[in-house]
């Protein structure tokens, strides 16, 4: 079974600074990878996903993520954060052959300071 690790529980970043959130997965084959964001009081929203092809994926709200097979990682980045990016971010992995199940990481909470 696959597992997902988000090593950082909480990150604080200044507005305008860059942001990188780490995600590592454990899975034998090529995984299907997702990043979701949960703003306060709201449900999760998909930021981006990777299935195959170009390993650098562009998403909504100015986010991008890079799949690195050698490092089993799918880190999320944003060059310049806005106060509205304060939220909890979840990495998720889908397993080929298990049609419905996504495994989620524990989440990283991002605080943006002025």
């Amino acid at each position: 079974a696959q597992s997902v690790t988000q090593p950082d529980i909480h990150i604080t970043v200044s507005e305008g600074a860059s942001l990188e959130l780490r995600c590592n997965y454990s899975y034998g084959a090529t995984p299907y990878l997702f990043w979701y964001v949960q703003s306060p009081g709201q449900g999760l929203q998909l930021l981006l996903k990777y299935f195959s092809g170009d390993t650098l994926v562009q998403g909504i709200k100015g986010f991008e993520a890079e799949f690195k097979r050698s490092q089993s990682s799918f880190n999320l980045r944003k060059p310049s954060v806005h106060w509205s990016d304060a939220a909890e971010y979840f990495c998720a992995v889908g397993e080929s052959g298990n049609d419905y199940k996504l495994s989620f990481g524990a989440g990283t909470t991002v605080t943006v300071r002025a």
């Binding site: 449900g43 998909l46 979840f90 419905y100 199940k101 989440g107």
Partner: protein, 116 residues
């Protein structure tokens, strides 16, 4: 826009009560999901449904059941609520295409359930 609504944002129940959490989606999605979200654990799948009256257990189905009588509505039932079921419950839906879990899941705002 896809809309997934959940019947309550906050719910307080007593131990032993039967609890119903309702979820409705307005986009004619085949798949619907119930997750539980706890700090430090992320989201864990309780049950999902890929069609009316069809359901499959997820990772943590014990103590829960589900009902899907209509395509747009998916109910989570706590037969006899216990304090360890105090949590945030999230419903999601997705349109079924060739790769089911690859379909974007759309989430509701969640129901924060407290069992006293």
């Amino acid at each position: 826009d896809v809309k997934v609504t959940q019947s309550s944002r906050y719910l307080v129940k007593r131990t032993g009560e039967k609890v119903f959490l309702e979820c409705v989606q307005d986009m004619d999605h085949e798949n619907m999901f119930w997750y539980r979200q706890d700090p430090g654990l992320g989201l864990r799948l309780i049950y999902f449904s890929y069609d009316v009256k069809m359901k499959e257990k997820g990772d943590i189905p014990e103590g829960y059941s589900v009902s899907r009588e209509k395509k747009e509505r998916f109910s989570l039932i706590l037969e006899s609520a216990s304090t360890n079921q105090t949590s945030m419950y999230l419903c999601a839906s997705s349109l079924s295409t060739s790769g089911r879990f690859r379909d974007t899941q759309y989430f509701g705002p969640g129901t924060r359930l407290t069992v006293l």
